[in-house]
Point group: none
Chain length 142, copies 4
């Protein structure tokens, strides 16, 4: 029940898209990464710029890299820009420190992966990520 | 009718997974790239190694890079290894020259994108890609 | 019991070093990666060339990338050099396709990580990896 | 007596972990690099994000690159951001300019390597690095 399967990843994406449609968000790109930071599922809605996969994945990767959220990482990047630059460099440039990347946790608090969303405002991207995670039976916290 | 939408990309993936299940293929990773070589949709079945996204995308990217298939690119790589090495380098190392990457064309022959599949034998990966493309109303040729 | 903890990783390294001492292997570098391909523990014995960390990790990473062993990947690299070149490129150059990289599995067959060893002959490197894995209560297969 | 052996590197890590346990630090990743900036030993405590190896090594690498500490490098990065950006680039992106990277010197002041720690606050990471270095009979200065 607590594993992050492909079916769960697709359910997360479906819920986030449904929220986006209901709230009239702009087209979204949604990446679900596993706990090791590797892509499990991605979908980019029609009309989205082509770099959505990298940005959405970069938010999720950032959340995993710091064991928090890309929102928290964004705050750290403003306060300590050189920390972020170093982190970005050692990750091979895989991190986007902007809200919209949220860890997927089980009830025990174990990190199973992360969702990254890019397309609307960063706040809305994050809301959609959290809705998707919670709807699939996982725990989201930013 | 002939555009490569997200719905079409998902349909391609669904059909390829269905063929894989029917033929008892190993777990697959399937990437659908747009005509610019950018990721549109990806799904990795449970039990697949983590690098599936890169390999599947690499096959599709290779097909797009040479306007043919990753199978043809594999043949070229054997015959002219330095051509392939140069192509790999200028692409930023994004190409996997092995069967399983197939162009998505419309009836006019226009290239709309490519599918890349990795998981079973390269021949079976390619079969699944072709089945997915044809089922979505597009033209596949290797 | 079946998790790959740091204590287990260190036990794997200790056993492999003990085997190396007993069999008079040359100084070894031993990397233990988690299931996502990230470094969990590494030790390089005195007198080893400085690039041991990259080579040992590269064998383990290769095993994880193909869901097999770096020995099997080495065979594939000889038979299909362009497949290996593509795989190497999409991994960011992280793979060394030579025996000595072995998956760490639990009794159910789940992949928990991989050990990579470099220092003596590749065959001996692999033997040490297998001994370490088995001694820690996991299953090794090449 | 003054060489940085693997046994010394492991002793440094053990002491730093002991301090972390005593002071209730968060899980740490600890890298010990030799004088050439190459990894000698690394351990990542359970519950740490996967990128610890790169960040811990990046702090130690930065200390070695400027012949000082990653704390001093962090100050320099704030004062002269373009110096740091250039240094990061020519190092291949291997530097994290944040406290926690400390040179390992012998009594003569010769640089034998560096320790990098990541996991708790940067100040605590640095304290643990210094404790480890001193306990192994070396000299730490930041």
């Amino acid at each position: 029940m607590t594993e992050l399967t492909l079916a769960k990843a697709n359910a997360i994406i479906d819920t986030a898209f449904a929220l986006g449609a209901e709230q009239k968000f702009k087209p979204l790109g949604i990446a679900v990464l596993d706990a090791g930071g590797h892509l499990l599922a991605f979908q980019r809605q029609d009309g989205s710029p082509f770099i959505r996969a990298e940005v959405a994945s970069g938010k999720a990767y950032g959340a995993l890299a710091v064991g928090s959220s890309s929102r928290a990482l964004g705050v750290a990047a403003v306060e300590r820009p050189h920390f972020f630059q170093g982190l970005s460099a050692v990750s091979g440039g895989k991190i986007v420190p902007v809200p919209g990347g949220v860890l997927i946790r089980n009830k025990n608090g174990d990190v199973l992966g992360a969702v990254g969303i890019s397309g609307d405002t960063s706040d809305n991207d994050e809301l959609a990520a959290m809705a998707g995670i919670e709807s699939a039976g996982f725990v989201a916290k930013v």
